[in-house]
Subunit: 521 residues, 2 copies
């Protein structure tokens, strides 16, 4: 209990004045119970009689009421704590803050689903066995009699576990010393932006791309150089003649297009980085979940010039509320990265690191990944089977055999038609999400991001059937509206982009406009 | 298991080549067990016979060995993973990185104690009842069937708990919406630096002061304006005529001097902030632990112009491995702070927030604070009693009745004499820590930072007795060395600073040289 004693006159009167002030300021809320006299006396190191006398004074002034057998209460008409007003129009105090405010809007669909069947990307598959496994690991971690101080680079046991895991599962051979534990992939990108980019430095990013990484780069003043993505990933050739300091890529499973970067592109990118002396930020956000045997080695595992910074996260493999990830850092940058991490937040929380290290050491993490991968394969099959059965007339999809989502293209659909489809689906309890808002400079190709991690096999069967009827009805609606049926309509992509710009509310403009979808990293 | 299949020839041969490569690159370690054939087959979606055939090929090439009944092992002579070399001399890539490298050295005494009786500051009092209480709260938090997505501003239940706690215990009346949960006080300062300071902006800091906050400010390019501290805290008058963007203060218990800012100074500081339009970062790092009734209201609770940003942390009240803190943010800055937090790491981990919210809601946090405060009082009494009994001839201390440490001054001691005392004490298993390295520009006043949270009452009795004999012997040693006995020696403070500069190894130079002690925030 925080009470000011002003030091004037008898103690009980000081305390009564202090309590009165606390009531008037809303610190003690109307109708709430005053602390037990014994407790308050101990807190303030006063005698209990002093406290009793002060309470009596308050009651005499009708600021408090004694209740038989249950203590003393603040009178009901005392003022409540004021609601803090918002502050629109207050000027940004720094260039950083001004850039934050200028970031493209990001509608994060946090919290409950908007639709009963929501195919949104970013949902995790929380396997029914995970909560128990995590609880046990956490119990072991908190039972340890030595509660360690946090270390900047992370808990040694966890760094060893990560190095071991990366060698076994991702082909990335590194030493525990190369691993720096961070608070998720987002913090990795932010820290790296600070040690690799000055304001105005050009950075290549995938287009379409992952909006939250783009935000971190823009906030730090990077000049974005959007590079188109095709079915083999980032078009490395487009980098030629464009001096850049760094390139941010998701080669394992490009977000959002789903493309897997070909081996030739990987080699070309590494050669470019070596020759030009630029940095490659490899975000392997989905690398755990390949759904066939044909794995392609991570850029980091092919890198011989120490130019690749490898970024991984646990929030996709475990659960989004776990803010832990890691950076496998080239030796040249390690010292700077550690200094930047220490300046930022000293270190990550120790207990969760310890629980994760336990889970990695006893094989529980591998077992969990196997279970999730098996279930993801079943869900993916259900989605693809449903698409084949119900949606093949309107959708063309491309199966990257990785990750937690599939992109289905609606070539020829106008942005209006696409938005009508989304609205119609939502009316019918189906959530679908266009890929359009993820494009930066390139004209958006109309399509949907279909996440399958958050729905069960039977839910996916319903969802795809619903999607089929929505597609049919949306394209019919257009035809009866006197328009060319959507499926036959094929304007130039540039025209789609232009028409979008005239409809900012329904479909956001494409330039510098990032996602309305979230990828929990 | 990550294995590259190159797609040429039969599957078993592809797998054998992939495994061979993994062994050669150190991905599969010498002497380690190969995965069970069934597991690998499931992982790679191959038949078990294919895996068996591949293992046989490896054994035939002596790269692996079959062990009866326990599987197949990588041969012992396979190469191990290379240790990554350090990279000295690699140029900093950004101005931020260059500033990180130029930060004053910070010797963090992380890990085990250097001495059996270590009076260092930054140790937590882990009350014996805390691990159980935390474990139960964590179990309840992880048992909840809904594992929520992280929210940028923090878990609503925790924000409500913090607002309620601040009103009751710190006199800071705010709404849950004003509270932003961050990863400790360090992240609070870093985020605020980004939204309040451009490179080159002048910021006033306490001298002596808290080194890690100073680091965050310097890293962001702030121009430090060190302001001396006296027994009433920051000398507000010294701010006059020095245009600053912000001032960082620890008014409840100035770190490291222990001064409590007087009410007059507080009002003068708020008036200065209002008149000059500068920001006040109030770090209330020790505010929970006042050891008498005479609390002084937080700056935030007196602020009427919305210029005070209040920073708090749980790592001192609970344990240092818990990286959770909060900012009570003026409305004008709240939007920018949330954007900066999202860019930095999306949000804090959810489970620990939920556990803490549980602990705050069921009264466990208050009970814990009361227990710790009681024990801290006992330890403080033991320290002060020991100092009175054994050290009064040499030390002058100032009892601020708050926090977890006391400063004892050794006025007149040279830095050499002080260092000799520290060395002698360490030989006798006593860890003591000079305040000198915490000074920035002001000449260092010789003194010791005596932390009492990490030692029990009986340990403190031994420690103070040891300190008494060390003080006596160190001052006698000096006398027999032909020098004036330390206790009578009184050079100008400026001279002490100069002599320090010639002994960088034993006692670091004073300018821009921060702490060798840590304050877990």
């Amino acid at each position: 209990m925080f009470i000011e004693l002003d030091g004037e006159g008898p103690r009980y009167a000081q305390l009564a004045r202090g309590l009165k002030k606390a009531i008037q300021r809303g610190q003690l809320k109307a109708g709430s119970r005053l602390p037990a006299t014994r407790t308050l006396a101990a807190d303030l190191q006063l005698s209990r009689n002093t406290v009793l006398a002060a309470y009596e004074t308050l009651c005499a002034e009708r600021l408090a009421l004694p209740m038989k057998g249950s203590g003393t209460y603040v009178a009901a008409e005392a003022p409540a704590a004021p609601l803090a007003p918002a502050a629109p129009g207050f000027p940004a105090q720094t260039r950083f803050a001004a850039r934050l405010r200028a970031l493209p809007r990001l509608a994060l669909p946090v919290g409950q689903r908007r639709a009963r069947y929501d195919l949104r990307y970013g949902e995790s598959l929380i396997h029914p066995l995970l909560p128990g496994a995590w609880r046990r690991a956490m119990a072991r971690a908190t039972a340890a009699d030595h509660w360690p101080h946090p270390l900047v680079a992370g808990l040694p046991a966890l760094r060893r576990g990560i190095a071991d895991y990366l060698a076994r599962r991702r082909g990335v051979v590194c030493h525990a010393d190369d691993v720096v534990v961070v608070g998720g992939a987002q913090q990795a990108v932010s820290l790296l932006a600070r040690i690799l980019l000055d304001e105005g430095d050009p950075v290549a990013v995938e287009d379409p791309g992952y909006p939250l990484a783009v935000h971190a780069l823009l906030a730090h003043g990077a000049k974005l150089v959007p590079i188109p993505v095709d079915r083999d990933g980032l078009r490395i050739g487009d980098l030629a003649g464009r001096p850049i300091r760094a390139v941010y890529v998701t080669p394992s499973h490009q977000f959002p297009s789903g493309a897997v970067m070909s081996v030739e592109r990987r080699q070309a990118l590494l050669e470019h980085a070596r020759a030009e002396g630029c940095w490659v930020l490899e975000d392997d956000y989905d690398g755990e979940f390949r759904h066939d045997a044909s794995s392609i080695p991570a850029l980091r595992s092919l890198d011989e010039s120490g130019r690749v910074v490898y970024i991984g996260t646990f929030s996709k493999a475990l659960f989004p509320g776990l803010r832990l990830g890691y950076v496998v850092c080239p030796p040249a940058l390690r010292g700077d990265l550690l200094l930047a991490k220490r300046c930022d937040d000293l270190a990550c929380s120790v207990m969760e690191q310890a629980a994760l290290a336990e889970l990695m050491a006893d094989g529980g993490f591998d077992r969990h990944l196997r279970r999730v991968a098996g279930e993801l394969r079943r869900r993916r099959r259900a989605l693809l089977e449903g698409l084949r059965r119900h949606c093949a007339r309107h959708l063309q999809w491309q199966d990257s055999r990785a990750g937690m989502h599939v992109v289905a293209w609606l070539d020829g659909w106008s942005s209006q038609a696409l938005q009508a489809l989304v609205d119609l689906a939502l009316e019918r309890h189906l959530g679908i999400h266009p890929i359009g808002p993820h494009y930066l400079a390139a004209p958006a190709r109309p399509g949907l991001l279909l996440g399958y991690a958050g729905l069960s096999v039977s839910q996916l069967e319903v969802a795809t059937r619903l999607l089929g009827t929505c597609l049919a009805d949306a394209s019919r609606m257009q035809a009866t509206d006197g328009e060319v049926p959507a499926v036959h309509q094929a304007p130039a992509l540039g025209a789609v982009a232009t028409s979008n710009r005239h409809e900012p509310r329904r479909s956001p403009p494409l330039t510098r406009r990032a996602s309305s979808r979230r990828r929990a990293t």
